[in-house]
Amino acid sequence: MSPASQLSPVSGEITLEGGDVITSGSFGRMILEVFLQSRLATIGLGVIVLMVLFCFVGPLIYHTQQIYNNPNVATQTPSLAHPLGTDEVGYDVLGRLMVGGQSSLEIAFAAALMAVSIGVVWGAIAGLAGGLLDAVMMRIVDTLLAFPFLFALILLGAIFSTSILELIIVIGLVAWLVPARLVRAESLTLRVREYVQAVLIMGGSRRRVLFRHIIPNTVGTVVVNATFQIADAIIFVATLSYLGIGVPPPATNWGGELASGLSYIADGYWWLIYPPGIAIVLTVVAFNFVGDALRDALEVRLQRR
């Protein structure tokens, strides 16, 4: 938040401000502005697009065999045939990185979507309802938040067996609490707005208010949070894989590759350790850049509102 943006509503001319209000009403426009203005956000978006292309289009161009073990070619140093070498069971590391990235990204996107969906509905209902229901719903959130994320993930990971779907559910079940709080706070301020009151007075149902007026207005907060959720989920998946609560082979993810590569640190197999780690860091940093820029833009917009 730069000082200039804080001052503009005060010093700006009336016509200019009027124009601002109209443009800031469009969320798509806001996102476009963010990427035009923030270099970091643009870089972040670029990295994300490249990573998605690498993981999902890469295997179509760079064909590797990622199902059967091949001990004859295990732990080879990078060469022309294997640009990033091979791992302990003979998989090509570059190809493995693409396959692992697919599940890392899929799990992260799906878990963030699930977390945000539960959180939005929960938070919006609590905020709109108020009173006892709100109190009970938010105490439930407080209770679950008292449990540090990783502890909850380990506990849930021990209960569910591990497939990609179950990992998504486990992370989603833990991560919805923060968006629930954020959306509830916003829903509290939205429900006393004139237009919401007007809908209710005109006989509009609460469900209509919830889905047509409150939830759409929280979209900014939600998108920002979802961006951070994706970043966090990639790390969670990696950490769970390290702790042995990951997807079983031949399926893999960046965290699993990193974790199994790390057992060879004393052997100097650097190509098993750095590529998956760097892929994780790059992707997580990229999502954080985008999230930060979106949040800054949103805060300015909320101030103008």
């Binding site: 938040m1 000082p3 804080q6 105490r139 439930i140 407080d142 209770t143 679950l144 938040l145 008292a146 449990f147 540090p148 994320f149 990783l150 502890f151 380990i154 506990l155 849930l156 990971g157 021990a158 209960i159 067996s161 970043a231 790390i235 990696a238 950490t239 390290y242 702790l243 042995g244 965290g255 990193l258 974790a259 790390l262 640190i265 004393a266 350790i273 780690g277 994780i280 860091v281 997580v284 940093v285 954080n288 850049f289």
Partner: protein, 313 residues
């Protein structure tokens, strides 16, 4: 103020009770009964039945929960299925170890992150700010187990300066402090990365306030404004930050403890989860929940003490 503290205490108690109920229900969803886990797959049905009755696992869930809470009030957390020790004894050994790890790292992290945040804010949008911001982003985005093992690779394997494992069970931690350097360094770096992002923006937020302009207008030197006015006000949110980040730091401790095989509470929790050791899982859950809740409570109260403008009703 007193009223606020009492109300927050009552709320905290409800939260802790809620955590025990949720954990209790979750644990009974675990596949495979702990009896099978203790006796093995080839136990006779009679033995299985006897142990089930002995452990009280045949009683209805609410009754089992009631018994457990009653014991908890008497500070009896049951007996570990796997480690042949009372849970309280296990916790007694493990909690001080985790406290030492987390406490030292937290203090070190604050000592480093606060000046770092000041530096980043003062030099904002200059090369050193970009460098430090970039660095903290990278540490924030690194899986902490990777960081820990890279440190082991550098300092234990390549340079042979430090041991790759933390002091083990029977060893007094203070007699092998060099074994604690890497675990503490890892957790400190993770915690700094958690903090510094907030520190920088917290200080930046203060630098645009009116009182800062007034102080400059009075002719105070840059340093006097920074340390006398900006820093003092920017430190207030740090209290809340520590409270909020407590869960994250404890999660970090789990990873650090498993990387360095440090026998603290986090490692205990993880190992118990893998071996379905219900009583230990429940015991650690309660301790962790109490720690988080009490941490937040203290943060809330301190916040009001430090900043007289904040009044709770």
């Amino acid at each position: 103020m007193i009223g606020f503290i009492i109300r927050r205490l009552a709320q905290s108690l409800i939260v802790v009770l809620g955590v025990t109920i949720v954990t209790f229900i979750l644990l009974h969803l675990l596949p495979g009964s702990p009896v099978r886990a203790i006796l093995g797959q080839r136990a006779t049905p009679l033995a299985v039945h006897q142990l089930t009755v002995e452990l009280g696992l045949n009683k209805p869930l609410p009754v089992q929960y009631g018994i457990w809470v009653n014991n908890l009030v008497h500070l009896n957390l049951g007996y570990s299925y796997k480690l042949d020790q009372p849970v309280t004894a296990l916790l007694g050994q493990r909690i001080p170890k985790t406290l030492f790890l987390v406490g030292t790292s937290l203090v070190l992290a604050l000592l480093i992150a606060i000046p770092l945040g000041v530096l980043m804010a003062v030099r904002r949008n200059k090369v050193d700010d970009y460098f430090l911001t970039g660095l903290s982003f990278i540490f924030y985005s690194m899986p902490s187990f990777w960081l820990g093992i890279l440190l082991i690779g550098l300092f234990s394997l390549t340079l042979s300066w430090l041991p790759y494992e933390a002091p083990q069970d029977q060893v007094n931690v203070f007699s092998q402090l060099n074994g604690m350097v890497l675990p503490i360094a890892t957790l400190t770096l993770v915690t700094i990365a958690l903090f510094s992002r907030y520190m920088r923006s917290s200080i930046l937020e203060q630098t645009v306030q009116d009182y800062v302009r007034t102080a400059h207008a009075k002719g105070l030197s840059k340093n006097a404004v920074l340390f006398g006015h900006v820093l003092r006000n920017a430190l207030i949110p740090v209290i809340t930050l520590v409270g909020l980040c407590l869960g994250g730091i404890l999660s970090g401790a789990v990873v650090v403890e498993s990387v360095f095989n440090y026998p603290g509470m986090g490692l205990l929790f993880y190992q118990s989860a893998v071996t379905d050791d219900f009583p230990v899982l429940l015991g650690v859950s309660v301790v962790v929940a109490v720690a988080t809740v009490v941490g937040n409570l203290i943060a809330d109260i301190l916040y009001a003490v430090v900043d007289p403008r904040i009044r709770y009703v």
